[in-house]
């Protein structure tokens, strides 16, 4: 009950919480404790990863370590292999050389992907669509309850009996997020999940992403075209160029972050210039 209440607080709560009276600080400390207890993220190590399609060498040796629970954003020009890297991490494709390890044996339910398209089943109600995310636990007795909890987390509890076709683009994407979260994944990979949304919906979705990440402590890997989104959300931004990680930029700004602050803007500027110089070379 407590979780449900807390997660339905308005989006603005994150940004303005710092200004609250001590009462609010108590809630915040509780939450951080809980987060540590819940840190379920998995670390991810990639060594010498290579992948080609026919005669097109897309990834030419990726070396990367992501500590458990980190939020990493991946940027790079179109066609540089961001989606390919994500699909490899999620186990959707095979690679020629290198290794990907999570430090221990993982269950399929531990790793989830979210795409730019919501990929909801049009013939299943919203709640049933979220239940799909339970994987092998779909038919267990508490499936309904777990799906409902995930729907509440993404703020769509009242839409549980709707068909997906009546939802807005942002709502569909939130259902897809609920579906990805319902199995309590330990690694969550996002492939431009907000790419098709309008600016305002995007910002509210970014806040939602940050909030569920803070609540659940999974390791987040976000592929995005939007550098300002990357610096607003991530602990670390990776720039991919010519099949390798060309830049690895740490974002130290404290959370909750203030959008458009000078610190973030200058980081954004330097990452953009990396991207543009890569663009100029081609």
């Amino acid at each position: 009950m407590q979780t449900a209440l807390r997660t339905t607080l308005p989006e603005t709560e994150l940004a303005s919480r710092a200004n609250f009276v001590p009462q609010a600080r108590v809630v915040r400390e509780e939450r951080q404790e809980e987060r540590q207890a819940q840190t379920t993220g998995l670390p991810l190590s990639i060594r010498g990863l290579r992948k080609s399609f026919v005669d097109n060498e897309v990834l030419r040796g990726i070396d990367l370590h992501i500590p458990a629970g980190q939020f990493v954003a991946i940027v790079g020009k179109s066609g540089c292999g961001k989606s390919t890297l994500l699909r490899l991490i999620a186990g959707l494709e095979k690679f020629e050389a290198g290794s990907i390890s999570f430090g221990q044996d993982v269950q399929p339910e531990d790793i989830r992907v979210m795409f730019q398209e919501p990929r909801l089943l049009p013939w299943a109600r919203v709640l049933a669509n979220v239940e799909v995310g339970l994987g092998r636990d779909r038919s267990s007795g508490d499936a309904h309850a777990r799906a409902e909890k995930a729907l509440t987390e993404v703020g769509l509890a009242d839409k549980r009996d709707q068909w997906p076709s009546v939802l807005s683009g942002g709502q569909k994407q939130r259902v897809a997020l609920g579906r990805a979260l319902v199995s309590r994944p330990r690694v969550l990979a996002f492939d431009e999940p907000l790419g098709a949304l309008d600016a305002l919906t995007r910002i509210s979705m970014q806040r939602l992403l940050e909030r569920v990440w803070r609540d659940q402590g999974f390791t987040a890997i976000l592929v995005t075209h939007d550098v300002s989104e990357a610096v607003a959300l991530a602990d670390r931004v990776l720039v991919i160029d010519e099949g390798r990680i060309a830049h690895d930029v740490t974002v130290n700004a404290a959370r909750p972050r203030e959008r458009g602050s000078a610190e973030l803007a200058s980081l954004e500027g330097s990452i953009l210039s990396h991207l543009l110089s890569a663009e100029d070379r081609t």
Binding site: L92, R119, L121, W123, V132, G133, W163, S165
Partner: protein
């Protein structure tokens, strides 16, 4: 989908209560005009009997039990032929849509057979089965087979691959994937096949019954022609039309029930 959306009328144009009645205005008007034309002698009854005469003929046949028996025989042939042909078509559609091997093995052959108009087989079928029940069932089943086969196959092959990938990512087993993703995705197309097949079903049955039968509506019409009972001939034609409409309505109801998720079927 966008095509369907653009076709459906905006709210203000709909008259929900009268909706069901509106479609009957034109047929009723035609019957009224026809009756007037017959009574005034504008259309000679030799050419076309008055609707009242047709109804009268129907009433007589109904009392003698002949009408019900013939309708029942035709209805039985249509349903059994449809179930056999549709069932086999559906099975092949599933098999070839889901299995590459099965498709390679049988699809080309089936596509070749499809190009033979099934009614052209009537002489051969009479030689094989005589004018037995099996002749009619065979023809109906053959006619119904292809629309259902083709549309089931098409439906399964065009299920959104992104949804299938999603199902696999979320750990669906093959049977679960079929039940939750592939079959519901193919259903709209399968219904298109069923509607086509129902049309072909009646057409085949009419032809088969007029040529080679000793009972049924088509046979009743042919008998009446020999005795110059034009009212019975017209009656048979009208009953065929009515049965066709009935079958179509039944499939629409089924469609509405099973495709309630589809934007085209949602109450506006």
């Amino acid at each position: 989908m966008s095509l369907i959306d653009s076709v459906s009328l905006p709210r203000s144009f709909r008259l929900p209560r009268v909706d069901g009645l509106i479609q009957w205005i034109v047929p009723l008007a035609i019957i009224a005009i026809w009756q007037v034309a017959s009574v005034t002698g504008f259309v000679p009854t030799r050419v076309l009997p008055a609707p009242s005469d047709v109804v009268l003929a129907g009433w007589k046949l109904l009392l003698s039990g002949e009408l019900v028996r013939n309708i029942w025989v035709s209805f039985w042939r249509a349903s059994i032929g449809f179930l056999i042909g549709g069932g086999i078509g559906f099975a092949f559609g599933l098999a070839n849509g889901l299995s590459q091997l099965s498709a390679k093995l049988t699809d080309t052959t089936l596509q070749m057979v499809r190009n033979v108009p099934h009614l052209a087989l009537i002489p051969l079928v009479i030689l094989w089965f005589g004018i037995d029940e099996s002749a009619k069932l065979f023809l109906v089943a053959l006619g119904v087979f292809f629309p259902i086969y083709l549309n089931t196959l098409h439906g399964i092959r065009t299920v959104d691959p992104q949804l299938i990938e999603m199902g696999r990512i979320y750990g669906m087993t093959d049977s679960e994937l079929f039940r939750r993703v592939i079959f519901p995705g193919a259903l709209p197309s399968i219904f298109v096949g069923i509607r086509f097949a129902l049309g072909i079903m009646w057409l085949t049955l009419i032809v088969a019954e007029t040529i080679a039968a000793s009972s049924g509506l088509g046979y009743m019409a042919m008998q009446a022609r020999e005795f110059m009972l034009i009212d019975v001939v017209v009656l048979s034609i009208l009953i065929y039309a009515l049965l066709g409409k009935l079958a179509d309505s039944a499939s629409r109801v089924l469609e509405r029930l099973t495709l309630s998720w589809h934007p085209a079927f949602q109450k506006r």
